[in-house]
């Protein structure tokens, strides 16, 4: 198809092309690769989709993103065509109805779209899960996540201050895509734990608030090591009935491997210990009156109370007034061990892992995994 069959803007030179993209508000604030028809067609050929195939449908605003528009934005992000299957799989994942993209894409919470990639595609395209995996330096990591953000901006209208009402947002909103460091994991790769074969490649997406570094250098027993993880997860700033992502550094992962701790045991231990007394939540203004009228949040707050959620009190100030016994009621992060997703990533040296809380003060959205087509 020739250039003039596609809507666009004619420019004289590369510099004008880059500046035109800024002038049209087509960027994330960084320069983009100007998308010509030839580049977009090459991008599209990198994946298995027809140009008019819908990869993502956002139902609240009834917007459908085709492979063609995804390819335009992937070019702009700087992707190579061989990255496009990962971009398409990630778009398909965030478009799953359960993910309810409209929330994390527009909320004051300012979530990033985390994409964790597993399987042979990582080595094939150079997706990185080692040192500085969340930082700069690797094209596949930087541009695949960026392509998702450009789709949100350009196709779904999630412009800051317009549809995207993030109070602060965070740097992960530019891009947040990485490979699991499968060789460093104490367990089977993340995607295998979620039902895929090792020979398959898959993305797992998560609506993430900014990460917390978990710095521990002098612990080797699992319970000692994981104490700092649970403490970070129980921080009042992010405590919620939502999900968690833990990215274990290789050094920390080794301690769990040596001790023979399973994924399930680690999840269960973290769930059990990532908790605060109800009194702390009340004193910190973490409980809204509506929480006690909503069955889900009421269950979350009182699930571990003597007598269970049925004994939750009611009254006009019960969400703020500390009552006798509130120090004995534990409120855990999430609703159970399965709300904690653990993967491995990072450089060989250093006792630095990471915890990413979910977006929202409620349940947030589930983890969604999708196969990357070959």
């Amino acid at each position: 198809m020739s250039d003039d069959q596609h809507p666009g803007i004619d420019v004289d030179d590369p510099w004008q092309a880059i500046e035109t993209c800024f002038a049209q508000d087509w960027t994330d604030g960084l320069p983009v690769v100007p998308p010509t028809a030839a580049l977009v067609e090459r991008m599209l050929a990198g994946g298995p989709w027809r140009a008019d195939e819908v990869l993502l449908h956002e139902p609240v605003r009834n917007r459908a993103v085709t492979a063609w528009h995804a390819a335009i934005n992937a070019v702009m992000a700087g992707c190579r065509p061989e990255y496009f299957p990962v971009v398409g799989a990630a778009l398909s994942a965030i478009g799953e109805p359960d993910f309810t993209l409209h929330g994390p894409a527009t909320s004051t919470g300012g979530a990033a779209l985390m994409v964790i990639v597993n399987g042979p595609v990582c080595e094939a395209i150079g997706l990185h899960g080692g040192g500085n995996l969340f930082g700069p330096g690797v094209r596949a990591n930087a541009t695949i996540g960026r392509a998702l953000r450009l789709v949100l901006l350009n196709c779904l209208g999630c412009h800051p201050g317009v549809l995207d009402q993030s109070t602060q947002g965070w740097a992960g909103k530019y891009t947040l895509c990485f490979a699991e460091h499968e060789a460093a994991s104490p367990w089977e790769p993340l995607h295998v734990s979620r039902g895929f074969r090792r020979t398959q490649s898959a993305v797992t997406v998560f609506a993430a608030e900014s990460g917390h570094n978990i710095l521990v250098h002098a612990a080797s027993e699992p319970e000692t090591l994981l104490t700092a993880f649970a403490d970070a997860m129980a921080g009042l700033g992010s405590l919620s009935p939502g999900r968690s992502v833990i990215v274990l550094s290789p050094e920390h992962a080794q301690h769990l491997t040596r001790a023979g701790w399973s994924r399930a045991r680690t999840q269960a231990w973290l769930y059990e210990h990532a908790r605060r007394p109800l009194a702390d939540l009340k004193r910190a203004g973490k409980i809204e009156a509506q929480f006690l009228l909503n069955a889900e949040t009421r269950r979350w707050l009182y699930a571990h109370a003597p007598g269970g959620a049925e004994t939750a009190p009611s009254g006009p100030d019960v969400h703020t007034r500390v009552r006798p016994g509130d120090t004995d009621v534990s409120v855990h992060r999430g609703l159970g061990p399965d709300d904690i997703l653990i993967c491995a990533g990072g450089g060989a040296a250093g006792g630095h892992s990471a915890f990413f809380p979910s977006w929202s003060r409620g349940r947030s959205v589930p983890f969604v995994s999708k196969e990357v087509p070959v």
Partner: protein, 94 residues
């Protein structure tokens, strides 16, 4: 001369439903209140309804709160509002 392609959906015809006609009068008309499901959506809508009742003498109120603020209203809720209301006010209230 090189053409750079439009990455937006501006050139794609939006798949939207036709806008309903305005009710001829609000006096006595049944009014739907569709809260988006966030904490204070219905609190805000109750104030709006109070205003409309005072100023325009609206009739019965049909209250619906979405189960999930991030998802469209359920089809049964939309059908209820269509069947019972002359107009619907929707709001977010965080």
């Amino acid at each position: 001369m090189t053409r750079i392609l439009d990455p937006t959906l501006r050139a794609v015809p939006p798949r939207t439903a036709a806008r309903a006609s305005r009710p001829p009068r609000l006096a006595g008309a049944a009014l739907g209140l569709l809260a988006n499901g966030k904490t204070h959506g219905m609190v805000f809508l109750e104030r709006v309804a109070e205003y409309l009742r005072t100023r325009h003498d609206v009739g019965a109120l049909v209250r619906v709160t979405k189960a999930n603020p991030s998802a469209p209203a359920r089809s049964e809720d939309a059908a209820l509002l269509v069947a019972q209301c002359a107009a619907v006010v929707t709001a977010i209230g965080d």
